[in-house]
Structures are given as C-alpha cells and as structure tokens.
C-alpha cells in the first residue's frame, strides 16, 4: 500500500470544502448550541439529499436511489463491470443531535472520490458513495432500516406499520419521499446476483473518548458491539389523582419506576461495559391530575460479548414482569444486532493507509452500531474513526475539528483508492 499511494491524492483532499459542506448541511435542521435535528424522511432530509446530489453531479458522479430511498453516487471505474467499492454512512440525525454523526461519512466519501478525480487518478473498480436511509431510528425505530433491507437482513416491508410520534407510518413517509424524488433514476434494492460490492468502508466520528484521550488520529475499527432494543408497555388504570387512595391505584408510572429499578439491578456491571439506557418514555393520558393508565418505555442494551448480550437481554422480560406490582406489562424486542467482527481485509487497508499518511492509529471496536454491521455478511467491511471531543455524541456539543476530519478523509481516500485498484 505505502508505495501505491500517489502523493497527489492526499493533497487533493480539500479540508475547507469538506468543512463548508458539513457546516452547510448543519444549517438544514439547525437547533440551538450548534445542534442538528434532521430526522429521516422529513422535508429537511430531502433538502439535505438534494444538496448532496447537486455536489455529486458537479463532481461528475451519477445518482440513483433504490426502493428504500438509499441514495447512491457512482464514480465509474476503468472496468465498469468490476465489483464496486462502496463507501458512505447516513444523513439523518438524532432529534437533538450534532453536526457530524453520519453526515460526515457521506460527505467524506464524496470528498474522497472527488479528490481521486481531481487528482487526475483513475480506479479500476467503480466507487459508489451511499447514504443509507434511517440509520438513527429516532423517528422510526429501529435504526439501520436502509442497510438492513439492502443487505437482505430484513424484508423492505418489515417496518411499514412503524409510526412516528405524530402517528405517521414509515411506509407513508417513505412513499412521500420517493414521490418527491421521482426524478432521480431508480436502481434495484440490494446487491444483485453475482454483483456484491468488493468492499464497504464507512468513515464516522468515534462517539467515544478513546482516540482523543490517547492523542490519536485514526481509529481502525475491528468490529461493532451488539445491541438489543426493547419496548416495555405497562398497562394500569387511569384514576382521579385527588380521590383515589394510593393503595387502590394501578399506576403505570409507579410500575415503570419499579421496572427501571429492577432493570438497573439486572444490568449492574462493575466493569461498566454493559450499556443499559431508558431514553424514551411515553405516558398516557399524561395529565398531572390523572393516575397514568399506560406507560411505554424503551430499552437499549449493548455489549461486545454475544454471550453477555444474550443472557442479559433474555432476562429483561422476566425482570420487568416480576417488578411490576399493580399493572400488567408486555416486553417486545424490536431490534437485535449481535456483535459484528469485520473481516481482516478492510481494517488492514485502513491501517496501512493511516501509516502511509504518517497518522497515529489504533485498532478498536465500536460502541455505537452502524450500517456497516449489516454489510459484514455481504462483503469485506471496515470503518474509519476520527476523534470526538469529550467522546460526546447524540448531542449538539458533538465536535471533531476540520483537521481531524480532513485527516480521516485522507485515510478514506487512500483506502478506497487501494481497494478500487485491486
């Protein structure tokens, strides 16, 4: 690798163009304190995609979308029939998210391909920049719907009835966005028979504190910890807050408190590796002088070890059932992603590219899930991390500097150039 990296390529990465594009994207859904709220399949999402398409067309790429609204920008190879190298991430954000999670991986892939072209270089294989639909899962849970459907992990119609907070179904939102993008050429969903990508590379901010703490430039990601998502529905009885003795109530809020306490005990981990989060709570009727008759809350459970994730996750339903005292409870698992280990090819290429560029890298696993984990069964897969200030993410304060991001994009460009010429 070292001797095949043309010096013109890293030099062609335009740090200020990439930063300007990220800041421009951050205007679409800007919220206070530099945050972004641009959820999947919203008008803001459409605006962001249009902007990306404009840049791609200016850069000479060809645009297409599939039935899941995954968006592809293709750089042609000298052998157009060769299996392409795929690189990208997602453009949707958390409802109270930052300016880099997801969007940088898409903008970086475009910047890398544009740099290859502007440096006058060619690649044997085509390179396709991809933006996967609804990675975050904030509006429509679970996340990674676009990559799950594309990779055949789940059928494309799996989430038709999933509704957002306003009652709009994923199917309705998807149909609306597809109609709004009817002018974009269509491509079939997923890798076609005998035409799997040669490799998939995703650039992303670390969303953890490790690279910053160790003064490193690049994370060579070796795999992704597993995640299991659950919904807990507690059903009691609504009653008047002033007249109903506490002892006669079937109060769903109080049983939620009991259930979360019991789950805290179940997920206690002295090593602090197991991640247990209740991030979403919906109370009905949500009136201050009515005892709640229904509560729904989410559970996000993660661990890098499949055995731990299986054991703890499988114990959740029974833990909730024995904790609720006056109500009934139902626990539904709605997303499962077992820990993923990347094939050695892409991490090795990333590591070599970082070394060739004189950057300090570290092999590490991802705490967050990413579209990349659904690519593992399809083709050699890997990810490139850059440092996140304070390890903060899913928050307006999320930050990586223009220099850190440009360094990551140089590694991505070198990796893509390497893989696309194999």
């Amino acid at each position: 690798m070292t001797d095949t990296l043309p010096p013109a390529l890293p030099a062609a990465i335009d740090e200020s163009r990439q930063w300007a594009r990220l800041m421009g994207m951050a205007m679409l859904g800007a919220i206070p304190h530099d945050g972004v709220n641009r959820e999947a399949l919203t008008p803001l999402d459409r605006q962001a995609r249009r902007l990306l398409v404009t840049w791609a067309i200016e850069a000479g790429l060809t645009v297409s979308i599939d039935e899941m609204n995954n968006l592809f920008l293709r750089h042609e190879g000298t052998d157009p029939t060769a299996a392409p190298v795929l690189s990208g991430s997602h453009m949707d954000s958390q409802p109270s998210g930052g300016r880099f999670d997801g969007i940088w991986g898409v903008v970086a892939a475009l910047e890398a391909v544009q740099a290859i072209r502007e440096a006058g270089l060619a690649t044997r294989r085509p390179i396709e920049v991809v933006s996967w639909t609804n990675e975050e899962g904030g509006r429509f849970a679970p996340g990674c719907m676009g990559s799950m459907a594309w990779s055949g992990h789940r059928p494309a119609t799996t989430w038709d009835q999933v509704a957002d907070g306003a009652g709009i179904t994923f199917r309705a939102a998807l149909d609306e966005q597809m109609a709004a993008e009817a002018d974009l050429p269509r491509r079939p969903l997923g890798p076609q028979p005998g035409a799997a990508p040669f490799a998939y590379v995703e650039a992303h901010i670390e969303q953890g504190p490790r690279l910053e703490a160790d003064l490193l430039d690049i994370g060579v990601v070796t795999g992704i910890q597993g995640s299991r998502w659950f919904l807990v529905d507690i059903t009691g009885q609504s009653a008047h807050a002033g007249t109903t003795p506490v002892g006669l109530r079937r109060d769903a809020v109080q049983d939620m408190v009991r259930a979360i306490e019991a789950l805290n005990r179940l997920t206690e981990d002295p090593e602090d590796v197991l991640r247990f989060t209740v991030g979403r709570v919906e109370v009905h009727p949500n009136s201050s002088n009515s005892v709640a008759d229904r509560v729904r809350f989410s559970i996000d459970l993660r661990h890098p070890d499949a055995a731990v994730l299986t054991a703890k996750g499988d114990a959740i339903a029974a833990t909730v059932q024995s904790a609720v005292k006056f109500c009934t409870a139902q626990v539904t698992e709605r997303f499962t992603a077992m820990p993923a280990t990347f094939q050695p090819d892409v991490p090795a290429a990333v590591e070599a590219a970082a070394a060739a560029l004189g950057l300090r890298s570290l092999r590490l696993a991802s705490g967050a899930f990413h579209d990349a984990q659904f690519l593992v069964p399809v083709c050699p897969t890997g990810m490139i991390f850059v440092p996140s200030r304070g390890g903060i993410s899913h928050n307006p304060a999320e930050y990586s500097s223009p220099e850190q991001l440009a360094a990551g994009t140089r590694v991505l460009a070198a990796t893509l150039y390497d893989l696309a010429n194999r």
Copy 2:
C-alpha cells in the same frame, strides 16, 4: 325549607332531557369506551358551549361571557337588583375523561332553572348558570383558571405564557376562543363592587366510592381537601446510548427514577389519606438510543389537613434535590389550593332539600378540587354530590345513572329555589 318546596318543582325536572343532553355533550370529543376528550379552549369546547347556549336561549335565559371566557346564563328574578344565586361547574374534560365530570354540574344547573321556569315558579333573586373556563388543567395547568381569575384569587393574565403540549399558549387559545365567540354579549370579570352573589352551589359527581358503598343518594359537601401542584425539571446531558459508559452519564431519566422513589418515601402514609401522583412525564430528546438530557414531571399532592399539606409540600424540593445524583433539578410550585371549608348556609340548604325530597344524604368532604373552593372567599358556597360507580373518575368508565343524576338535579333545583327566594 320543607314547607316551601312546591311539589311542581321536582316534578318538572326532566330526567330524560337531562340524560339526552349529557349524552349529546359526550358526542363532542367522544373517545373509545364511552370516554370524552374535550379539553379547554379547543374547537370541541366551542361546539359544546354553542350547544349549551342554544338550549339556554330556548329556555329563555340571557347569555354573556367575561374576559376569561367564563360563560353565564341568567334567569331573571322578580327583583333584578337582588344579588344572584350562582350555580354551575365546567365543561372541559380530562384528555382521557368521562361523560359527567364537570359537564353534569352545568347541565344540571340549566335543568334546575328550566324546571323552575316550566313549573311556572318565580324567584326573587336572579339565578345564573355558570361554566368556568379550564377547570381540569389537563391542557393548560393549573386547573380552575376561570374561577381563580373571577374570584380575584389570581390576575386574569397570570397564565398567559402557560403552553400546552403543542406549544400553544393559554393566552393564544383564549384569544382565539374569545374571537370565535365575539357575537356573545360581554360582562365584566368577577363580582362587581357591592354585587357579590348571594350564594354559589355546584353539583358534581362524587369521584369517590363513599356514596355508592353506603347506598346513599346525595353528598352534602362540607369542604374540599387542599392541593399543591409542582413541576420538577431535571437537567443532565444527552449522550450516545452505545458509547457512553453508564458511570459517566448524567441521565435525566435515571435521576427522575431516584426522585420519584424518594418522593414515594416522603409521602408514605399508613392511613392512605395523603395523595401523591406523578401523572405527567416529558423526556427530551426522547430517543431510545440517546441518554435523556431533560425530564420534566408533575407532582399532585393533596390532603384535607392544611398542616400536613404544608409540611409535606414544603419538603418536596429538598427531597428531590437530595435524590438527584448526576443532574441538576428545579422544583416549581404552580398551583396551591389550601383545604377549604364551606360556610354552613349552603350545606344546610342542600341537606334540607334532600330531606324534603326523601333522599338519603351524607355530609362529606371532597377529595377532588373544584371551582367551588375559589368561591368560598366571595360568598356562601356549597356542593351537591351524586354517587360515582366504583368511585371511578378521570376515566372513560366514569358513570352515574340517569336516576342518580336526576335526583341530584332535584336537590339542586330545590336548593336554588330556596336560596333565590331568601
């Protein structure tokens, strides 16, 4: 009293007309299982008010509204300058409420006045039927805004900035409704100097199990337990659910759980008289894979003894502060109604009316708060309860039979006739 009740008056109470009116009102905002969702200052509220106005005009009453949108229907006395007797309740419901809470008190007062007129009887004093604005406080907290402003307990502009779940302010909703009712004659807000009502009588369902359990017809209400409402705002930091170690989080949901546990201990009452309710919870950003940075929850605390209510309520802020572990908390008291004791006049008149009608009555205090408690400083005040099936209220299953309601309305008519001829 007994010898002044003309037999034509109870006979003129039309049980089926009253039931039909209640069932008609229940169609405006009908929700499954016979429930009603007709919150204050909504289009449904306006429809219900129009319907009431139609009935009032047919019955020969004159209609007016004040700047708080309180609605008055006046039956003229033979001495129009005499202080009027006031009777009514409210027409708004809980978001998941029933068909009788509030609305029956308004429909019953209209039925009572209409019966007086149809029986060919006259009263020396005018009788005014009133519907107070936003008693429930479900959409705009706190409740009883209309009666609080009318009685001078709080200025009419106190709640201008209070917003509902959709961000609409009370002021905007009030202005919209006043504009929609611009054709109705206006009257000044509150009792005018030297023109306080002679008495106020409010008919209401019991919302408790006592009358039903003791096979009684009528509750002679002697007072109302006190209520204190608080909002607790917990502020932590949003973070990624997959990457942020649990030990490094400032998780607002977890600190809410700690606060509620501590409040449960503070409000533990072996006699089960103290009522502590967390009925409303709002989580931000409310995304299943983000640690919550903000939680707001409501506290509704009630007790018939002012000393207990003061001591427990005053301890809430410190209890929350010492319970939260990683976040900051702010506790705001937003509604206070100390226990109210009715002057003897109206309860005595209600008791005599029930006896004259051969109904079994019981003196009891109200567990729920009512507009009546804000009338106590203004004029002699009282309430009439009828049994609630199973004591259930603030719930679609709320029920009192046509016969039980008609009996209550006969007592109300006799009481109003008695008071309006003094």
